[in-house]
Symmetry: C2
Subunit: 255 residues, 2 copies
């Protein structure tokens, strides 16, 4: 049951957060808070850094051109990091931004681009990936930033896949079966999700995936979904069936 | 199990489709096919009109500046229209476009904007709504266009809600319970989904919704979701739990 403060600006900072610390705002944060939000000294914001929970902090103006935050009270504890891993064939710019933001919103704890045969994008801007993850966390009250990994080829991913984790992939040609029942039966324990490129996986890649015993192919219904839609849809079904949408004592993919 | 032709351009037309009919292309379609796709006489495309299934049609050039389609063979039968109704507080431009496209991809059969207390957008461009629905159908191989209705106020929607249909709404303050179990238990039969505005429903609206016995409040997990994310996530869980992602003989929300 979310019980967040929806009103205060929520900002990611790199610095450690503790009572009374002095945290310098970046120029972009200062501009946003002072000129867009029209806040000033003694107003408060929420801060998080992915490690120390969420803090209410008071704005300070140590000099005319500077803005600092002074954390005052911790408003939320740092939650356990999400163990749900998200592998995706990168899309073109705007759709990739969107897909990364959505994956963070939906609770992915690790983001890793995967290069497949039909992947049209091979150069990934890692800073942009991270900036999108931070933006989604700021907007959606998420305190744990996902681990952003560098791109990997599909065959290398499968060859180095850790024992004990299941890899769910959405196979457009999977026979109609209930994805919920499949997840309940075959995807208890640590999970990863793989979303293919707009053109789908090649026949050879599908064969390769299906030959591995840790791979769980699921169907996302009778319609063709775009890759970014499939990402949100698959994450929703995973979280609802075996993930953190379940009552807390029934989470399955936590270690 | 989707088994579509992914390669051919797929276009919506208003005209009836039958073998040998002559269907005039719009100027936009002609420009796209001739100048962007570089197709010409005797090349083929796929056509649908929301009524007559999907047809493979041959391009004809009756004059230098004109393009026509001649339907040759029906490639898919017209499916039953979806009975899943989708009510949504309109968002600002780009996010509304996106949300409408996603709802169509996810199988909504009716789209209706709903005006709530925190809705920031009150003028809805009905043509744009329909154009987005058509674009999503063209791209995702969907043959049934949703019924696009005019905006309605939330209280009027509830007062005129048809008997026998359940209205699922995503309540951020709903206690953590499995949405799948709730849907299995309380949302068999004809369904509608209501997605609120970015600011959420007001306390009064939530009370009003929860006072109606046809309303089923579900939780979408511990994170705050943006409205467009919540739309895809809720539709995915509904389709997977009680909708058309189930094997065909187990669909629940068909009449």
């Amino acid at each position: 049951m979310p019980d967040h403060d929806f009103k205060s600006p929520r900002l990611f900072v790199e610095a450690d957060l503790a009572e009374g610390a002095a945290v310098e705002a970046t120029p972009a944060q200062a501009n946003y808070l002072l000129n867009v939000m029209r806040l000033g000294e003694a107003d408060t914001v929420l801060l998080f850094n992915g490690r120390d929970g969420e803090w209410r902090a008071v704005l300070k103006r140590p000099a005319k051109k500077r803005l600092a935050f002074r954390p005052a009270t911790r408003t939320r504890e740092q939650p356990e990091p999400s163990d749900l891993q998200y592998f995706f064939a990168p899309l073109k710019h705007a759709r990739l931004d969107y897909m990364v933001q959505k994956a963070v919103e939906m609770g992915a704890g690790l983001l890793q681009p995967v290069l497949t045969q039909h992947t049209q994008v091979t150069r990934i801007n890692d800073d942009r990936l991270r900036a999108n993850a931070i933006e989604a966390a700021e907007q959606c009250g998420i305190l744990g930033l996902p681990d952003c990994r560098e791109a990997i080829r599909l065959d290398a991913l499968l060859d180095s896949f850790p024992a004990g984790r299941r890899l769910v992939f959405c196979d457009e040609r999977e026979d109609a079966a209930s994805p919920i029942e499949l997840l309940h039966r075959e995807a208890r324990g640590p999970l990863a999700l793989l979303i293919g490129p707009e053109g789908g996986f090649s026949a050879k890649e599908r064969e390769l995936l299906r030959s591995r015993d840790f791979v769980v192919p699921i169907s996302l219904g009778p319609r063709i979904l775009r890759a970014d839609t499939a990402a949100v849809a698959a994450l929703a079904v995973i979280q609802a069936a075996v993930g953190d949408w379940l009552p807390h004592d029934r989470w399955q993919h936590k270690d």
